[in-house]
């Protein structure tokens, strides 16, 4: 029950994108299509789960004053490893997201969760927090990417819904990201009553 609560907390109550408004750079930058948003969300989730786990295991070994540099080294190593794995085994995804993968290091969601959660709780709870926040981020990015792709190009996950000629190109470009995100946050706040 405790674990389900942690999961739910990450997905809705403390959703990193819609409620905490963390990690806006990858949110706006990578969501030009649903599949891009989803891949970025999953990549971040993978890093988040492992960083939460490792940091919660080493938390009592790390003196307070070097806490942040130590966490950053752990996170940066995980991201570099992820980047190499993606380059090796999913080159197609890497081609579109490659530029944004190193940015996961400075994604404030990851360091934020390390500080706010993993540095205070046990490893198992930290893993669940990683999954929950990661899922929340993935859902948000997929939703935003889907809306932008549908309005901008008439496609959803590369399946044509209506002709591209009627698409509003604006939504694939940067301003569309801000507009779509703004409306999404408003709708989520209104309906979820957070």
């Amino acid at each position: 029950m405790k674990y389900i609560k942690i999961l739910w907390n990450g997905i809705l109550k403390e959703n990193p994108t819609f409620v905490l408004l963390l990690g806006m750079c990858p949110t706006l930058g990578t969501t030009s299509s649903a599949i891009n948003g989803m891949s970025m969300g999953l990549a971040t989730m993978a890093v988040l789960i492992f960083s939460n786990l490792i940091i919660s295991c080493i938390k009592s070994l790390v003196p307070d004053m070097v806490r942040i540099p130590s966490y950053i080294v752990v996170i940066a190593s995980l991201v570099t490893a992820l980047q190499m794995f993606m380059q090796a085994f999913t080159p197609e995804v890497y081609k579109t997201l490659g530029l944004f993968i190193p940015l996961i290091v400075v994604n404030c969601i990851i360091l934020g969760r390390a500080e706010a959660f993993a540095a205070k709780r046990g490893p198992v709870e930290s893993i669940f927090d990683g999954i929950g926040i990661g899922l929340g981020f993935t859902i948000a990015l997929t939703l935003l990417g889907g809306i932008r792709e549908l309005l901008g190009t008439g496609k959803l996950f590369d399946v044509t819904i209506y002709s591209e000629n009627y698409g509003m190109l604006l939504f694939v470009l940067a301003p569309g990201a801000f507009i779509a995100l703004g409306y999404l946050i408003a709708i989520v706040k209104k309906t979820a009553k957070i």
Partner: protein
């Protein structure tokens, strides 16, 4: 377990230890991913060369790296089925535009593919199919070595050329054609100075 106090030796030891472990882990990941990464790069290149030459089994026999007049790298891949040239134009609408162009014996364009670009989606990003055979800006079969292109190479109709630019993306189109021209000059230069570099000897056999 109680937290370690923040004394200098403690901090030094912990940070060093973490860094060493991280470096070790990364070195290990590097050894297992290096092979597949190299393979992927090689496969992408081979696929690109095959596409632009319109064949399926081109074998690279000779790779020559050079620089164009502006100091950008140009790479010539001489294969048994023709020559593919990779060229860059740094002034696309969104930055660098990297193309791979295949030439036949006479110097006519056999095919092309855009390897890397940062153009606007929906506008300049169309470059990868706009100039293909049967499309509006068709450049396939044109020979930048023809007398009518002698002055400025392939250019868009706005600049007096005969290639239709991508709608609303003249800057991208210009950058693309500049890269194609650079590729052609590299190809022409190589076959003029050194007949062995081009594909001609094999095909004439």
């Amino acid at each position: 377990m109680k937290k370690l106090p923040s004394t200098l030796p403690n901090m030094l030891c912990v940070l060093t230890l973490i860094s060493v472990i991280a470096a070790g882990a990364l070195a290990y990941v590097n050894t297992i991913t290096q092979g597949p990464i190299e393979e992927n790069k090689a496969r992408t290149l081979t696929e690109g060369i095959n596409t632009v030459l319109g064949v399926s089994d081109a074998q690279v026999q000779n790779t020559t790296e050079a620089e164009d007049a502006n100091g950008n790298p140009v790479i010539l891949y001489a294969t048994d089925k023709g020559v593919a040239v990779q060229a860059i134009d740094p002034n696309g609408f969104g930055g660098k535009l990297k193309v791979l162009v295949g030439f036949d014996d006479a110097g006519a364009i056999k095919g092309y593919t855009v390897l890397e670009h940062a153009e606007t989606p929906g506008l300049g990003a169309k470059a990868n199919f706009w100039f293909q055979k049967g499309e509006k800006g068709d450049i396939i079969g044109k020979n930048p070595g023809d007398a009518k292109y002698a002055n400025s190479g392939l250019t868009v109709s706005k600049d007096g050329g005969d290639v239709d630019a991508i709608t609303a993306s003249t800057i991208t189109s210009r950058a693309f054609l500049r890269a194609v021209n650079v590729a052609f000059h590299a190809y022409a230069g190589a076959s003029a100075t050194d007949g062995q570099t081009g594909a001609s000897p094999q095909i004439h056999n």
